[in-house]
Symmetry: C2
Subunit: 405 residues, 2 copies
């Protein structure tokens, strides 16, 4: 069993780097604070007897040797970069749960057959550099190293430059094989809490399609223009916001539909909006349903354009296929939660995670624990020490089984 | 009859001051360009034999003496400040139609009993300094001179400072009596054009109530948060945008309901909107209907808040009562349009105008002429020379009747 107090203390110590006044953490990818966080992890991992490898996109791998070094490693990990107004647990928990597994094995003098690795993936959040989940995306071949290194932040600094400036531009080379990958993470949603369960057995991650929608109507003066002669872009956009919601509500329980951004032009009180731009985020557990939602969205846009005499342009900007996790590993998570006496339930991950990319190239599974009120990407993000301990115990057991003690 | 070519030439000459690449005019209130425009008008008015008076809020009055100087003047006018992307006709037409009346009287050697005045009202547009229709508002006692002078632009410059810097801070004193006020203006809407009429006989201006509405929901991650556990501020706001439209559509033909501005927080693609702010602009021809619309808006907000578990705050920020024009003067416009053989129709002004304030303290009426496609507050704003000439002929006749030749 892992040491819950030691895990909690490490979480609190790492959270001091970039701590915000409201109790959160701002430790943006590839900044000086990210370097300090990485350096702390590397020191702790070395103290735990690990060797350190850094790859060309800055992913850190801390390795505890196995008795059979020819076997591919059993890996865990997550990220330590945060949102600008992020919390102490998103990502950080998965990395430090991995460290706690290493420390527990050391304290118990356990040798595993396969090596154990703890990964710190670069730029999961995507706040400073897009695309999100950059380090695991390169590792999994979702996009090229060159593409990732060339991305620039708002100040024009590239990923490659930022990596060199914090000293984490490592060795290029093919991604090594991974025997099994487990990632512990806070749920970032309210389902476990609402069901009073401690462990979320993550069977899959929702597929995602993101869009930019532009509605082009006709700007006109709000006073002299009769209602029946208007081509109001915001009216059409508002109907579509409701439609995006309906598309997901009709496909319960797992489908999601969200308009997160919306901008109005010219955005003046007494001018009928001539143009509106908004984003659509559709998610579903299988590709057929996601495509069905895509078609429903496009049909709604076409209908609204025809009815209101507007032009509506729909452009898909992001696509993640639904990603099932490896049934054998998922079952290991479920069985170990049961063995340990933790209440659990099967859940799907609504969000993308590094594990979702890793699952493209290796057997993978995730372990969720509740976060208070389901709140994440927020400085008030919080989680119960007992839940974090439980998730880490499940991680330990699942990794030991995969690494053959 | 007035000289349509001379009127057009003056419009084009004034439009050179602040001319934009797209054929519009940007001559913001109390800027150096506004000064140049004012100087040109003053020069033309002096050349037409007028004396010039400037009041403390910078309104300019060009006076042609009457045979009975004890009579209150018969006045016309409008404004020469424009929107940042404004056109050549909004306001400018009313001022230069007044100048054309003076020139026509001079050319014909006509003396009127009452003096004739042409007013250039300060800051009608309100783009740089709020409130809108500032000069006529002070003149009509809608708010105090001190209040108006103290308003500041985005750079912190006050109206008083701006007036002094362009040399148009005139004499304080009570507003003089006005015998009758006529204002010629482009319609800024499509009604005359759609009906194929040349002269709009403006019987009244719609009352207006403007609001700031804030919807407070709960920010959450768009992926892991199930549809049924959301408190999405943009969903509620979208319902209300449609409701504002419905409130006006149900009260045809004159009611208007517009959401011109809408802002989403935090405005991130994969975050359920936690807060939305939007504006509402309601207009109606009578106060009872406007109040009824106010109550419908508040009821819709309360209903949406209760149904979706959100807080919705509604704050009224502007109120203009409906303003009927003076029946005797309205009839003079109608009768003179008929006499001159111009097609006409009664219309209400959907927008506020200087005449709406002046009508609080003097007999007043307005003359509308069509503008192309009903477009205004736009650099492509345009109007037919023949229509501008027709409106000016009606203005000449109506003023002559009021001033007793
Ligand atoms: N975990 C997480 O916030 N991923 C970002 C991409 C997403 O919205 O799913
Ligand atoms: N004419 C004009 O644009 N007035 C501004 C106030 C309004 O929206 O009615």
């Amino acid at each position: 069993r892992i040491d819950g107090a030691r895990l909690w203390q490490s979480l609190m110590e790492l959270a001091r780097i970039g701590a915000t006044a409201k109790g959160g953490v701002c430790r943006i990818a590839l900044t000086e604070l990210d370097r300090q966080g990485r350096d702390l992890f590397v020191r702790w991992a070395r103290e735990a007897g690990c060797s350190i490898r850094v790859d060309a996109i800055g992913n850190i791998f801390a390795r505890r040797t196995g008795t059979d070094e020819a076997l591919p490693p059993v890996m865990t990990g997550s990220h330590i970069d945060t949102q600008p107004t992020g919390g102490k647990f998103d990502g950080n928990y998965g990395v430090l749960a991995g460290l706690e597994v290493l420390r527990t094995l050391n304290a118990a003098g356990v040798r595993t057959r396969a090596p154990i690795e703890v990964a710190v993936w670069t730029n999961e959040e995507g706040s400073r550099f897009v695309p999100v989940m950059m380090g695991s995306g390169v590792f999994a071949g979702a996009f090229t190293l060159e593409h990732a290194l060339a991305q620039r932040d708002a100040q024009g600094i590239s990923v490659g430059e930022a990596l060199r400036s914090i000293g984490y531009a490592g060795q290029a080379g093919p991604a090594p094989a991974v025997g099994a990958y487990f990632e512990a993470h806070i749920e970032q949603g309210p389902v476990l809490e609402n069901h009073g369960r401690v462990i979320g057995v993550v069977t899959a991650a929702l597929g995602q399609r993101w869009y930019d929608v532009t509605v082009q109507g006709m700007e006109a003066h709000a006073g002299p223009t009769p209602m029946e002669l208007r081509r109001d872009a915001l009216l059409a956009a508002s109907e579509l916001v409701l439609e995006v919601n309906r598309i997901a509500v009709e496909r319960k329980p797992h489908a999601r539909g969200t308009v997160g951004t919306l901008e109005v032009f010219p955005n003046s009180r007494n001018v009928i909006p001539g143009r509106v731009k908004f984003s659509v985020d559709l998610r579903a557990p299988d590709d057929a349903q996601l495509l069905d939602m895509d078609q429903a969205l496009r049909a709604a846009c076409a209908r609204s354009a025809a009815e209101r005499g507007l032009a509506i342009d729909v452009e898909q900007v992001v696509y993640f296929p639904p990603q099932p996790f490896t049934p054998r590993l998922v079952q290991a998570v479920r069985a170990n939660a049961d063995d340990l006496g933790y209440s659990s339930m099967d859940v799907v991950s609504g969000a993308g995670h590094d594990a979702v990319y890793v699952a493209r190239v290796a057997p993978a599974a995730m372990i969720f624990v509740p976060c208070d009120d389901g709140i994440s990407h927020n400085e008030i993000e919080s989680a119960e020490p007992a839940h974090l301990e439980a998730g880490c115990n499940v991680l330990l057991r699942a990794m030991l089984a995969a690494a053959e003690v």
